[in-house]
Symmetry: C2
């Protein structure tokens, strides 16, 4: 991996983007991954009723600057968040967009994937509340392809993080997200 | 308030220090508080089996540096976290320590309060899992005294953040923590 890898999950309030980023950060710190990570969220005027984002920076070495100024990977769940954040993607990076909103001609230099993340949570799993776990699954596939993290490390962290009794539901959503992305790449 | 106010919650894994800091960060961004906040956690070798910490920086204006280099307020739940982090407190700042572990002669220039945070969660509430909400209650009293945030903003954020059905339990723990600190100051 290069020196640092920046990940941003963005959407609207209530979509659980914080937990998604927290889980990536914790998974990176597991023994078997042995990476460093810093996870950040900012709240301000723009967060009030607007787009919300949560970020993780992963590195083998020390992390000096904890924000994702130019994310290598973004998973974006709403049109508003797409308008606000898609342009920040690092040149040649990866952009995963929910396919529920129109997102033509973003004019960014990135590999773009449009995936039915919200729809999968809503229809396949039947619980929109697990949208963040589907999103996490799509990210897990990209992190695996990058040689950064094994999906199983993220899965284990999900099991340790979600409320007792909801592990199966959350893992199922994660697996579906992983599958969605794997079908593309 | 001064330009920025830094808060750190530290303890061991599983004590929920992340959620405590996330809730402070979100509460600060509520309409009625109208503050900016950035919330951070770092994971690395030291987090594996060691002390875990979560930080929030609050400001009226823009926040340039998101880490709490010298926290104005620290709530520390374990001896290991105390060894590691208590020395960082800003001169004249506030240190809330769980009274379960010995913590004599820290040699820091701070107002120190020893409070039965874990014990309150365990015995008064009967659920050690709400230790973080008791800790949050103690912090809420300090933030109120600083004129930074109303306890009710934090309470509302708790209700919006915890799993459905656990709101009452979590709020009760928060109220107990607030009371613990209010008895002291």
């Amino acid at each position: 991996m290069s020196e640092r890898y920046e990940i941003r999950v963005a959407g609207s309030g209530g979509q659980g983007v914080i937990l998604a980023a927290v889980i990536i950060g914790q998974a990176a710190a597991l023994m078997e991954e042995n990476l460093n990570s810093v996870q950040t969220q900012a709240y301000g005027p723009e967060a009030r009723g607007g787009a919300s984002k949560s970020e993780v920076v992963i590195a083998r070495g020390e992390i000096d600057y904890p924000k994702a100024a130019s994310p290598n990977l973004q998973v974006i769940l709403t049109e508003k968040a797409c308008d606000e954040y898609s342009g920040d993607v690092t040149p040649g990076g990866t952009l995963i967009l929910d396919d529920f909103f129109p997102s033509e001609d973003l004019g960014v230099d990135a590999e773009i994937f449009r995936l039915p993340i919200v729809k999968t949570a809503r229809d396949t799993i039947g619980r929109e509340i697990v949208t963040n776990m589907v999103a996490l699954g799509t990210a897990a596939r990209v992190l695996e392809l990058q040689g950064l993290m094994k999906p199983d490390s993220i899965r284990k962290t999900i099991i340790a993080s979600v409320p007792k009794g909801t592990e199966e539901l959350n893992c199922k959503a994660f697996d579906e997200g992983y599958r969605l992305m794997k079908e593309k790449k």
